[in-house]
């Protein structure tokens, strides 16, 4: 049976806890100033941490010397995006203006959400392997260790088998949804 260790998850948890302590109060104060409530602050802050994490694993923040300021900058941009605020109403510094947010961050249609639920239910272990590699950018040698494969090559083959399995399932499911919609 494949078992997964929690090394990567533990590292993530430490990073997030540190960022909660260093950045959440300033994001919460800012959201309050914009007329938001505590729930909105928590939601925007969590989303900001996700964007921050993605940029970190992609190696885009190697020169970031002030993570709390960067997280606040992301929060401002997400606030604009999520609540469709007018940019001029929220003063952003030049470098905050340059912070990019993934274009698909708040854009999920109904069909995508249904497919997502299907993918999550269809192949949990495969999905974890694909998420580890493509999203968390964990090297295949580490994935082999975490998921109990004998070597990197076995993990590589399994990754592609999983990709094919889920790709074929997504395709068939999506086509049937198209049929329903027609």
């Amino acid at each position: 049976m494949i078992t997964i260790t929690n090394d990567s998850k533990t590292k993530r948890e430490l990073l997030f806890k540190e960022l909660y302590r260093s950045s959440f109060p300033s994001v919460a104060r800012w959201v309050k100033r914009m007329g938001g409530d505590r729930e909105q602050a928590q939601d925007i802050f969590q989303d900001s941490l996700i964007v921050f994490y993605e940029k970190t694993v992609q190696g885009l923040l190697e020169n970031c010397d002030n993570p709390p300021a960067y997280v606040l900058g992301i929060a401002k941009k997400l606030w604009l995006k999520k609540y469709h605020k007018i940019k001029n109403d929220i003063p952003l510094t030049d470098w905050e203006k340059n912070i990019s947010i993934p274009p698909d961050f708040y854009h999920q249609n109904k069909k995508q959400r249904r497919l997502l639920r299907f993918v999550e239910a269809a192949g949990k272990k495969c999905l974890e392997i694909l998420q580890s590699f493509y999203y968390h950018q964990i090297p295949l040698s580490e994935i082999a260790r975490q998921f109990g494969f004998s070597n990197t090559r076995s993990a590589t083959v399994q990754k592609y088998k999983c990709l094919e399995k889920i790709r074929n399932e997504v395709k068939s499911k999506n086509l049937s949804y198209d049929d329903i919609m027609e």
């Binding site: 998850k9 993530r12 948890e13 997030f16 806890k17 909660y20 302590r21 959440f24 109060p25 919460a28 104060r29 309050k32 409530d37 505590r38 928590q42 969590q46 989303d47 941490l49 996700i50 994490y53 698909d104 999920q108 995508q112 497919l115 997502l116 993918v119 999550e120 999905l127 694909l130 998420q131 493509y134 999203y135 968390h136 083959v157 592609y160 088998k161 990709l163 094919e164 889920i166 790709r167 074929n168 997504v170 395709k171 999506n174």
Partner: protein
């Protein structure tokens, strides 16, 4: 004969930008010639997008748990005090 996963690997290398310029050009020509390969590329791209969206949802769940720990009864008192002062 090319195994299926080798084909997926080639598609993966193309979508991830890991091919050289020349390899990518050759691959693009193949896409025009072989509609079934183009179809696989389209679905692989879509699948990877779903993998990303699903990972984000999972991460959001992790973050809710971390927040519950930090702001819960046994949580981080200095942080809790700061947040209480704001609201």
């Amino acid at each position: 004969m090319m195994t299926l996963w080798n084909e997926s690997r080639r598609i993966d290398r193309f979508l991830s930008g890991w091919m050289s310029k020349r390899q990518a050009e050759v691959f693009k020509k193949q896409l025009h010639k072989h509609p079934e390969l183009a179809d696989k590329v389209r679905w692989q791209k879509r699948t990877l997008q779903l993998v990303r969206l699903s990972a984000r949802r999972q991460l959001k769940k992790e973050l809710r748990q971390i927040e519950a720990q930090l702001l819960g009864p046994e949580g981080d008192t200095p942080l809790k005090n700061q947040i209480t002062q704001i609201w």
